[in-house]
Symmetry: C2
Subunit: 195 residues, 2 copies
DNA sequence: CAGCTGACAGATTTCAATATCTGTCATCTG
DNA sequence: CAGATGACAGATATTGAAATCTGTCAGCTG
């Protein structure tokens, strides 16, 4: 694309890569395309990212971190832990559903990227369950939740609600009735946590 | 394979198709292969199944029905509903995990088959949640479970435990610690159901 | 000399020609 | 004549040669 005089940074490469992925999809997005988009040779891209896989994983990480960031506010907030848990789960579902619904092709692209084994997804899940554990712990402290192991309960809640945040279910998220299914599972889970 | 004098029945075709799928995998299993395995012309296969898709769906249905059958005994049994619910969920997880672990290639084949949109999977899920609903209803009658809508609760329980029976998670089922994760989710769900 | 380039080897992908498959049906056979 | 066959048209899959990509690196440039 248009050559620039700006310095070539990891950040600029990541932005260009996102754009190339959006345009070409995961199968046809090449490092050469990214370099072309930046007006540099592909060798320069390899100066910042050792391999194509590392570049793709960095893009994935950025994308996942955006979701984590949206939710961390709720996890850190003050107030009724049960309400916060419900809010957090709703926000997670809403965020995923929005991403999947607004631009299905891009979402499919990221599904491919997250499927390429790497540590990014695992770290994202660790991050999210840590947020959940924080909420649950504050519920235990307040006496509204009862669990011996908030971390384990957090993982259980995360797993139990997987249908409403795991990308492999994304095509179900637009069906009529999901909202109700979501409420039912959240209800079950919140009741299971109660003392 | 070996030609036979036996009459050509839908049942024999289904058996041969299973064998061909096991041998060749979902991508390379053709109707011609099935006919060859039976020692007949492929036109004869089309006499019993209108399309290749119908044949594949019939095989899928048979496979899914085998799991449903294994579980229906637990759902129909007498005795403590909570124990039956735990047994049923454990049996479902064990059955899926065994199928995935014993013959991963065949399991992958069936994952492809179930992914080919059709009514078989939907009916299977309806069947399983009906079994769950039966257990939950008996728990409500016995006074140990509390829910206004056992069918809805059954779907919620099924969704909440998806990570331990949905094929899209099958590669997680062999990791150390799954057993514990499973127990934690079941515990959460059972507590959520309790009155 | 830090950062960029572009040629290169080996791996991967594309593309078009070729082969095989699906689904139909007129015809055959017991 | 019920049930099986195999030739056929159009759709799909395979194959192998050519094009492109990945990752490296010696050398260029500011």
């Amino acid at each position: 694309m248009a050559p620039t005089t700006e310095t070539l940074t990891a950040e600029r490469i990541l932005e260009a890569t996102e754009e190339v992925l959006r345009r070409h999809g995961p199968a046809k997005a090449t490092v050469v395309d990214v370099a072309r988009a930046l007006g540099v040779s592909h060798g320069s891209v390899y100066r910042h990212f050792r391999t194509k896989a590392a570049l793709r994983e960095a893009v994935t990480k950025r994308w996942l971190d955006r979701t984590s960031g949206e939710l961390s506010g709720i996890a850190a907030a003050e107030g009724d832990p049960e309400a916060r848990l419900r809010d957090w789960l709703s926000a997670l579902f809403a965020a995923k559903r929005r991403k999947a619904g607004d631009d299905p092709e891009l979402f499919a692209t990221y599904m491919v990227l997250t499927g390429e084994a790497g540590t990014a997804v695992g770290e994202h899940i660790t991050d999210l369950t840590a947020q959940l554990a924080r909420i649950i712990r504050s519920g235990v402290d307040a006496g509204s939740f009862d669990t011996a192991d908030p971390e384990a309960s957090a993982r259980a809640v995360f797993h139990a609600t997987g249908r409403f945040h795991d990308p492999c279910y994304s095509r179900e998220w637009e069906r009529p009735g999901v909202e109700g299914e979501f409420e039912a599972v959240v209800e079950l889970v919140v009741r299971g946590l109660h003392s």
